[in-house]
């Protein structure tokens, strides 16, 4: 029993782990500054934001929907946190609660409108992207709002384990979403809805509450994600997370999540985030120009999906 589970895990994650090891090996040989604790710390600080957004996106993609608003919603959550702490003297704790509520509300709005009225979530979340970004700029008067060192603790290493709360939150979110997808009724319904929503309905299950719930979870994770950059910079940035929704989708897809719905795995998504982070960091260490970095990153995404697709097709025919 144990050994078959191990074999299964190897089969599922083996490809991504291999790719990751190869990337690390490559950058370690190519530069002498890569294989160091400093790099690991840098990456650990970088990834919580993308990880949290990407696992939420995994859920959304599994039900066959998409949420393009996550970057803007995250900025809005950060702005909410900053404004409440600076201008209204809220404590960090209560500001975080408000920040999560803001995220969940945006998710709820996207979910209710797109699921309730059967409008493609691509369009609704695109609208939400603009609304949330505009609101963020309104709140912050388009300027970066310095919050101060109160929020910094979220990104500072906890004594003894050298990991920041933000990183731990991200890992906890990965494990939680993994558990939801593999072991709960909600997760099973999500996979089922993404596979064939009409069959789920004809089985006597109401699909809308679950689908809307997924958007709310995604919004909540946007709120959590906003804590990472806000605490790192000790400021709320009106331009936070521009374009990050595409990186989140890329991480999901590298992890083998289907854009058609019905297939997705949170741990694979996390490995996808790591691939992107290692690539970004490694390329900067090699002092690759930004323009070339973009080209390489794009190439890696396409190659990863290509390999995954071909492998899946081979599995099907044999």
């Amino acid at each position: 029993m144990k050994s078959t589970r191990l074999a299964k895990a190897l089969l599922q994650y083996g490809g991504l782990v291999t790719a990751l090891v190869l990337l690390i090996a490559f950058f370690s040989v190519a530069t002498d500054s890569f294989f160091q604790m400093g790099t690991a710390r840098l990456i650990a600080n970088q990834i919580p934001q993308l990880t949290l957004l990407a696992v939420g996106m995994t859920l959304v993609l599994v039900i066959g929907q998409i949420d393009l608003s996550v970057g803007s919603v995250m900025a809005l959550c950060g702005a909410t946190l900053g404004v409440l702490m600076v201008r209204h003297d809220w404590s960090l704790g209560s500001a975080i609660v408000a920040c999560l509520l803001a995220g969940a509300t945006c998710g709820l709005a996207t979910g209710v409108i797109s699921i309730g009225f059967r409008i493609p979530s691509f369009i609704v979340s695109l609208g939400m992207l603009e609304i949330a970004r505009g609101t963020t700029r309104r709140l912050l008067d388009s300027n970066t709002l310095m919050i101060g060192s109160d929020v910094a603790i979220i990104s500072e290493p906890v004594a003894g384990i050298a990991l920041s709360p933000a990183f731990l939150i991200a890992i906890a979110a990965v494990l939680a979403i993994h558990f939801v997808l593999t072991s709960t009724v909600l997760g099973r319904y999500c996979v089922a809805i993404g596979t064939n929503a009409e069959a789920v309905r004809m089985s006597g299950i109401r699909t809308a509450p679950y689908a809307i719930g997924v958007f709310v979870i995604s919004g909540l994770l946007c709120g959590l994600a906003s804590l990472a950059p806000t605490s790192l910079m000790e400021a709320a940035d009106p331009g936070a997370g521009i374009g990050i929704e595409l990186s989140a989708i890329a991480a999901c897809v590298i992890g083998g999540t289907s854009l058609m719905g019905g297939r997705g795995n949170a741990i694979s998504t996390f490995l996808g985030v790591l691939v992107i982070a290692v690539l970004q960091t490694g390329l900067s260490r090699m002092s690759v120009e930004d323009a070339n970095k973009q080209i390489v990153t794009g190439g890696v995404i396409i190659i990863a999906v290509l390999i995954d697709t071909v492998r899946r097709r081979l599995e099907k025919t044999t």
Partner: protein
């Protein structure tokens, strides 16, 4: 008669699995050659190879003595081979005319010539007396039976020397089937060779000249149809002697007040003011032509479509017409849907996930967390109880044969359990042994005191399995026949009766 297609040693392997093993097969000019076999015998695979949809692993073919290597469907079509597949291959968002002429769109420098397109499509439709279908109708808005007719009309509109029909009559009404047969006979007289696959042996006996039987991917025999009875065909297919008539037992509860489901005044869509009732242990069949509103009626009762009016009495509990299947399921209804791929199964998911779907929240979870061991046990039990052929319960349902898929679609409701089971075309496109298994299931459900409603386009099936048969015609409930007083003739008469009064003939 001259040999049209000659295939020698056709073999198809998927990895270690051989689905066609060294099959020889000939079709003459001007003959209708029936291809018989249980599901998984390799009929569809053989036809796909001939029509260029699948490459053969080995073997050779020739047409009129010239070597024939169908590398793609286009190559096969150029050689005059046309296929009508079991699955519908229409593009639902395009119009009827555009579907019919899809590969031969009349155009001028790429601009569609609409009038010519409509005229040519009209011609193809009229050949089948499909006068009532407008050429600009969007295909997706038509029923399955109509779509099937358009599919056949499309294939026959192209010139061909060899026509392959894979279960063409599964969704057709009696009249449509007759028109199809007339046309096939005309084509035969014109020298076209026709390969005909059907589970309906009566059709095969009536229509075909020769019969080839496949079993487990191997060629069993090729014989003149005249020299075989339908029973002998079944024997050849199964390799054993089939017992023709099973004994019929009634399980109807003796207390006539024991009506578990009473439907009152259901209307919606084509369905007009239908009322009927079912007793515990009773198997009620609903007969009628395709388009008479049988599926629509079941969907209205189940809450899949919204009824304009209607109420139901479930063992003493009164309900207004349901507005979502969830209400129906909670009240004790279960429905095995007509199109298992569209709205019955999660094809890409495992047998386990499909089996537990309806009852996940009810039986297989605590506080929202799935009890995986119980789930696995239930799925495994269903697999063995329904004799589902599969590797293991983690296999995805899409890889199973039609009959085994249907068993999964049924299993999920058996796990959930209900007082009333609706079966909509429960044996469409599935082989004999799976069919027998489903019939036995009707018996055991009835014996357990469940009420069963079966919609089927095959009257013989209802006559074999049901206690009572209700007939629908043009959306109306025309009445019902008890087992001891029915005749196939009377039922068919009734099925046509509704149309005579509502529509002018012609």
């Amino acid at each position: 008669m001259q040999c049209l297609l000659s295939a020698r040693g056709i073999t198809k392997r998927y990895g270690d699995v051989t689905v066609l093993d060294d099959v020889d097969f000939d079709v003459r000019e001007g003959e209708i050659h029936a291809l018989l076999g249980a599901n998984g015998a390799g009929k569809s695979t053989l036809c796909k190879i001939i029509s260029g949809l699948l490459p053969a692993s080995c073997g050779s073919m020739s047409i009129h003595g010239n070597e024939f290597i169908p590398a793609s469907k286009q190559v096969a079509e150029a050689a005059g081979v046309q296929i009508v597949q079991q699955e519908l291959n229409q593009i639902p968002t395009l119009s009827v005319a555009e579907n019919i002429r899809l590969t031969r769109m009349p155009n001028w420098l790429g601009i569609t010539r609409k009038r010519q397109l409509a005229a040519k499509a009209r011609l193809a439709l009229d050949r089948f007396h499909l006068h009532d279908i407008a050429t600009d109708t969007i295909v997706g808005t038509l029923g399955v039976g109509r779509q099937q007719m358009i599919e056949i009309a499309t294939a026959l509109d192209r010139d061909c020397r060899l026509l392959i029909l894979d279960e063409p009559t599964a969704a057709l009404s009696g009249g449509e089937t007759r028109r199809l047969f007339d046309h096939l006979r005309r084509m035969r007289a014109g020298g076209v060779g026709i390969i005909y696959i059907s589970h309906r042996l009566q059709e095969v006996a009536e229509l075909s000249d020769r019969v080839t039987v496949l079993r487990d991917g191997k060629h069993v025999c090729t014989q003149e149809t005249r020299s075989l009875t339908t029973d002998q065909m079944v024997e050849q297919m199964s390799g054993t002697t089939a017992n023709k008539h099973r004994e019929f037992r009634s399980f109807i509860a003796t207390d006539s007040a024991d009506e578990v489901l009473r439907i009152k005044n259901f209307s919606g869509g084509i369905v007009q003011n239908v009322s009927f009732s079912v007793r515990r242990g009773e198997r009620l069949g609903i007969a009628g032509l395709v388009g008479s509103g049988r599926t629509e009626l079941l969907r209205l009762i189940f809450g899949a479509d919204i009824a304009q009016q209607g109420s139901l009495d479930l063992g003493g509990r009164l309900f207004e017409a349901f507005r979502h299947p969830r209400q129906a399921v909670r009240a004790g209804l279960a429905m095995v849907t007509e199109d298992r791929k569209q709205n019955g199964l999660l094809l890409d998911q495992s047998i386990r996930a499909n089996t537990s779907l309806c009852s996940l929240a009810k039986c297989f979870s605590i506080g929202g967390v799935i009890r995986k061991r119980r789930e696995r046990e239930a799925a495994a039990e269903m697999v063995s109880r329904l004799e589902t052929r599969c590797d293991d319960i983690e296999q995805s349902v899409g890889t199973l044969s039609g009959g085994n898929q249907q068993k999964i679609a049924v299993a999920k409701w058996l796990v959930r359990d209900a007082d009333v089971f609706f079966f909509d075309e429960p044996t469409r496109g599935i082989d004999l042994s799976a069919r027998r298994r489903i019939y036995r299931l009707f018996d055991s459900l009835a014996e357990a005191g469940k009420a069963i409603v079966i919609v089927s386009s095959e009257l013989e099936e209802l006559i074999e399995t049901c206690d009572r048969i209700g007939v629908m015609s043009a959306g109306k409930w025309m009445g019902d026949f008890e087992r001891d007083s029915w005749s196939a003739d009377a039922i068919m008469q009734t099925a046509f009766a509704g149309y005579a009064t509502t529509e002018p003939v012609g």
